[in-house]
Symmetry: C2
Subunit: 352 residues, 2 copies
């Protein structure tokens, strides 16, 4: 059955769609109240994050737009050292969409929600005429309770990387990005890969409660590990040094990316985290990450040091806000050093 335009008109047809698909599968008491807003009990302070998902194709090995919309936002909330609790969910649907496709996505969202232990408590549905959007876009916005940080710097933040810290990565790079590109373009030479899309909130909760002193948590999504580390380096005014021989990349991802001329350091991940901690916390953090199936390949990929003096001068001087005040350096297999910049100019749309 195809979605009709009047399902977005706010009347009886909207109610049917909401009841028959959304309320049915996202079933919970708060959502069922169906007021303009949800009433939630939370302990302050809270973390809030939003993402719209426009991935194409809708389904890919390892997930779909629905699981991505849960994992991505759950992870963003958790990266602040928070326990994600509630999501809002807003659909923009194209007239003519097969309702079976929508329901399949909503069902997979529902199991991703259960696994993460979060609830969708409020929502919105818009239906736009055929051609005004491509099938389905989903926005999720998440809120969570900040886990009281034991670190003197406060909750994890991109601003908190310090000289002497180590950079941990919870597993292999580029799985999601390459999988979506391969699925979209039917690249048959890229085989046996799947998105890493997963919720990392349980792992993060253990890191916060058992290791403590977590300086930075970030998920290297669009732009990949290299771009995310550049953001952190700039925010913290430090140099991040990565060692190429430690970078985890699956063999088929390495091969596929190489054929396409892509660098896994710049490919999106949806179930990985970068964790920056003081060196003396490294072992404990790695053990906790590795104890989780989603972090079993966690490794230390690099370290944080002070910027060379010319860079720090730059920062205290005429910093316009667009000036680079951090740097990421890759020590190559051959022992050379290469500056890694942010992703620049590569249009990889609709990867998430």
């Amino acid at each position: 059955m195809k979605l009709l335009l009047d399902a977005g008109s706010g009347g009886r047809a909207s109610m049917r769609l909401i009841n028959d698909i959304f309320v049915k599968h996202f079933d919970n008491d708060i959502l069922a109240k169906m007021d303009d807003a949800a009433l939630l009990h939370m302990s302050s302070p809270i973390a809030m994050s939003t993402d719209s998902y426009t991935v194409s194709p809708l389904f890919f090995p390892g997930g779909d737009i629905g699981t991505l919309a849960v994992h991505g936002t759950v992870n963003d909330v958790a990266m602040l050292g928070a326990r994600p609790k509630y999501l809002s969910c807003a659909f923009i649907l194209e007239e003519g969409l097969e309702l079976e496709v929508l329901e399949k996505i909503v069902i997979s969202m529902s199991s991703a929600l259960s696994e993460a232990g979060v609830k969708i408590v409020t929502g919105d549905t818009k239906v736009v005429p055929k051609g005004a959007c491509d099938q389905i876009f989903i926005n999720t916005t998440g809120i969570g309770e900040i886990i009281p940080p034991t670190c003197s710097l406060g909750s994890p933040s991109g601003h908190n990387a310090k000289e002497g810290d180590v950079i941990l990565l919870s597993g292999s790079m580029g799985d999601h990005g390459l999988t979506v590109m391969a699925a979209r373009d039917n690249l048959s030479f890229v085989s046996d890969i799947a998105s890493d899309s997963a919720s990392l909130n349980h792992m993060i909760e253990r890191l916060m409660l058992e290791v403590g002193d977590i300086h930075v948590l970030r998920d290297p999504t669009r732009g990949g590990v290299a771009t995310t580390l550049n953001e952190i380096a700039e925010q913290s005014c430090v140099r991040c040094t990565l060692f190429e021989d430690r970078l985890p990349v699956k063999e088929n991802v390495r091969a596929g990316a190489s054929l396409l001329g892509l660098d896994p350091l710049y490919l999106a991940n949806e179930g990985k985290l970068l964790c920056i901690v003081p060196k003396d916390k490294m072992q404990q953090a790695l053990e906790i990450m590795r104890a989780d199936e989603k972090g079993k390949d966690a490794v230390c990929i690099g370290e944080v040091s002070a910027l060379p003096s010319s860079k720090t001068d730059n920062q205290s001087g005429n910093n316009t806000g667009h000036e680079k005040t951090g740097q990421v350096v890759l020590v190559t297999l051959m022992g050379g050093k290469r500056l890694l910049n942010m992703l620049e100019g590569a249009p990889l749309p609709r990867i998430c």
Copy 2:
């Protein structure tokens, strides 16, 4: 200058777009931190609501997609008897969009934010290839602090309408819906009208604090006053009776709607609220609403009574959840009675 696809890739081009347009105009300390999530201090309980905005055209008399995205979500949060504080904001942008158009929208959002006294604290930007969306879609998700209700029923809810209550409407019906339709189709016979799009949170705060005992607050957006009252009647299992001679409709809206064969009772409003209170609170509530420029035409449009017994039997009997358990009756100018149903079947897409 046109928006390029790489502004959505998460790299340097995304950063430029975010800094030059979003951070610049939404400027505040929390957003400026640019972590994966925003850290917020709130007192519990909180209200949360989400809406995606897909209105076409982007600009219309009385507002644009940006002001709508602020007003609509601020109002939904406030309708739970809450003080809206923070919004997330996620843009889906079409490749090739004029950056001047985007900036103009962001600037008008910024002044709508100031007026409402809320902040955008976290955001997301996706750029999709030309043709994959129509220019610009915006999602805003809002959270606010519940104002402790003085009412024994708790915070205002669609479930709280009681026999003997009166139904107040803060002003004229249909201004937004007709304005957008006229702007979209260049209807020259509809002149001198403008959207009522506005934030109602300050009015609601006064109603909560000074009148108290507010049973229901709802903004009659998509589907209009008739549909929203049907939702309330069903949730509260009551009959709502409206008096046609009291319904406020501007003369040109009435004329324009009539020419188009539309009923203002079913047209969308974006700066109006329905407020249901015990009869003895009516005068005080109307005075507070009328003291606000946005509520100066507030009137009592009807009353709440018990359902006829066959309807209540129905509810306690085999109610499948799709059964009608409330009703809305219009007493016409001629003194006749007419059942008002929810909007059914009329496809009025992209009105908000």
